[in-house]
Symmetry: C2
Subunit: 154 residues, 2 copies
């Protein structure tokens, strides 16, 4: 199987999983939402709502306003289809919409790439610490700014 077929398949099955997930929550999978999801997933690094608005505008050859994108991104984040990277004011598609867990983002200051890692020991520790301090309904956000291996070697 050629590489690009594999990648394409990834894209398609990811979109399918996203659609599945969203509709299962009683939300609609509209053309606009699909377009936003596609745009989001097409970026290889966190994309701002404005980046996505621009990408969708180009793809559809019509003006798409950023606030419409915001609405949809908020919906996606709520449904676990996407995640917000706070320190970059940007969003990334979630490759595993059905796996609900806290995650950790490493963001390269140089190239803007973000890598996403899971570590339940760490995130659990953070949740426990918050709970000990009397906090409830906690949503940890763990991000690390730094320099990635690629940029470091330059």
């Amino acid at each position: 199987m050629p590489v690009h077929d594999h990648q394409l398949h990834e894209g398609e099955s990811l979109r399918e999983a996203a659609r599945e997930r969203l509709t299962r929550q009683g939300e609609q999978w509209t053309g606009m939402r699909e377009a936003v999801f596609e745009a989001l997933a097409s970026f290889d690094k966190p994309a701002s709502a404005y980046d996505i608005a621009e990408a969708v505008s180009k793809a559809q050859e019509r003006r798409v306003a950023a606030n419409s994108v915001y609405r949809i991104l908020d919906l996606f984040v709520g449904a676990n289809l996407a995640r917000r990277v706070e320190s970059a004011n940007a969003y990334v598609a979630n490759a595993h919409p059905d796996c609900l867990h806290d995650c950790i983002f490493l963001i390269c200051d140089q190239c803007g790439q973000a890598v996403h890692i899971d570590n339940d020991r760490i995130t659990g520790g953070v949740r426990d610490a918050a709970k000990s301090a009397g906090f409830t309904e906690t949503r940890p956000m763990i991000e690390v700014r730094g320099t990635c291996g690629d940029c470091d070697s330059d």
Copy 2:
């Protein structure tokens, strides 16, 4: 010793520690910087650059522009006199300018209060995880949004 005296002393000694720290780094402790630090320290929750600009404007009875405040806040963050709370686009004074360590913020969605905790086991774990992923010069930022004990009981 009356309570307010004690608090006042806290404020003064904190300002002294901040001045010490900044001058030790070869930076000047100017009237403007003191005013910004005082304003920052006077808030009981994370303050935005615009909040601080407003507070300083009021205290000095003249208009202070936000970008001047940004400049100084950046300097403060660099010198460990203040910290930026990413998820709130806001800043808090650092009560221990001389202790260099990662910290964890818990921010209440209801009241906006932020509490600051230290936990080297957690932050160390995050740094290690980032290092394992090939990242260098890492700056972890760990924040937890949630509901604080006070607001939860309401």
